[in-house]
Amino acid sequence: MKKFIKLDALVVPLDRSNVDTDAIIPKQFLKSIKRSGFGPNAFDEWRYLDHGEPDMDNSKRPLNPNFVLNQARYQGAQILLARENFGCGSSREHAPWALEDYGFRAIIAPSFADIFFNNCFKNGLLPIKLDAEKVDALFRAVEAHEGYRLAIDLEKQAITTPDGQVYPFAIDAFRKHCLLNGLDDIGLTLQHVDEIAAFEKRHLAAQPWL
């Protein structure tokens, strides 16, 4: 997994609540057996004017000029500013894969759906929860200032705005440790292999039907 330490990047605002994972990556792209290459189809139904299918050359498809990701001022954005309950719906990890493959490294929203939130951390993508008023203020600032950037420091758990305002954010110690070091969960869990085996022995002895 990619490490996440610091990020200073352009912000793109996606001003809709309850953005679901079907919208982030529509079902026809879930037929892939790989975990990469989903970026060109992130937000496919909003981003393009035609209907997308997995075998298409996305560079030749007509873009929807009204969709925020297609606007010139937001090209190259790595921070997605979003509204409440971002990532609701399906558990598809293809959603964070698509966002990461598109180029996002962080998402800021007032709230996230649980499964999506978990999935982000497995892919070096940092989801940050901020109070709705702060997110509101950021939406206003991004829309008012072309080229608006934010600096995210995971070690310090802080977001700094261009005018020097600092928004602290919370994160679990374990998840922070994994992101800072780019650690793979499986390797960490396998350090406890004896504990797992001992638990399993007791558990299956007590419930032999399992």
Partner: protein, 466 residues
Amino acid sequence: MGEQTLYDKLWNSHLVRQDEDGTALIYIDRQLVHEVTSPQAFEGLRLAGRRPWRTASMLAVPDHNVPTTHRSAGIADPISRIQVETLDANCVEFGVTEFKMNDIRQGIVHVIGPEQGATLPGMTVVCGDSHTSTHGAFAALAHGIGTSEVEHVMATQCLVAKKSRAMEVRIEGELAHGVTAKDIALAVIGKIGTAGGTGYAIEFTGSAVRALSMEARMTLCNMAIEAGARAGMVAADETTFAYLKGRPFAPQGEMWDRAVEQWRNLKSDQGAVFDAVVVLDAASIRPQVTWGTSPEMVVAIDGFVPDPALMSADKREGVERALAYMGLKANTPITEIAIDKVFIGSCTNARIEDMRAAAAVARGKKIAPNVKQALVVPGSGLVKRQAEQEGLDRIFMDAGFEWRDPGCSMCLAMNDDKLSAGERCASTSNRNFEGRQGQGGRTHLVSPEMAAAAAIAGHFVDVSKL
């Protein structure tokens, strides 16, 4: 320790270790696997040279991509076919039990787990699919996970997790005629919203829940995720045991008696404290119909499409966008909304009781001329066989419905069953998101009775008055 909730009991009995910040390793008893969210996990194992920790805990089935017609000819779409063939090959390579596409036991993963007795009380159950919450109906801790977690559970038999908060959703009283578990689920979501359960595990309690069959409890728990809760659950009781007894994966003989003795404790203790409590009066719940693009955009059948002009500014824009997508005008009576298609199926409503309920409405009738297609897609090969033995297939086909082979089908339209842009569908599935059933398709979530009645009338009707 004091009084414990059912969730506390399930969590504590699977806790392998816990760090100071609350990050825990939870032992997983059952992992269900389907073709869409597993190939990258198997590939991860292969690249790391790992083997599954306990293949006996795994059960695999292809369901999302499978065609629902002419199955003996195989899968026509080459990309879908590769995904299903990849599952087949992975299950052979790693020694995982799989019900292949043409096995009579094949079906939607959340239908076949309970049907086989592979879901048992007291278990932890995971699957790379958000509707894994379904299995909580058996007093199991069951929830959806991402593909990285699928790989993690395969490799370690554990999940890295933090304990959720516990919410009680209590439904007391008796349901009116024509009101189902689906209507309870939609009414709960309408009340607390699609994020109302975020961060919680929900236990459904109360006399109305106790009175539900196991299949109805599965419908209810299935939709917990649409309220934002990863897990939904119902305490174990005689209904639970009667459903499971004699199923292929359930314990038999003396072992069954031992198991039931332990399972009787799988309920919240008297006086256990929940972090949040929501109470609904069963008698007040009416048949529900969604009108928008989120399951919380729901209203009773005798209601109206809401008027955004009467809403606060922060809500208005979302409602206006939903109504524009759905092609609906404010203040339209729900019963005046005409439909183009009907879908009866999905992990929410494709079990035998759902088939019977829809057939009872359709018996001796014909679908309306404006209904272009009405699909009935049973949840498994065994549900299909049972329905055919009862003659339900004839009732549906005589009425003009198509009787299909089992799979996820038009719930998410990964196979050929989909809506075209602008088409309006009465659907027994679980999500009415934009594009869910096909790009530009318009989904109204309802119960099987309501879907069948809409097919006959050509528009929504109040089944409680039939």
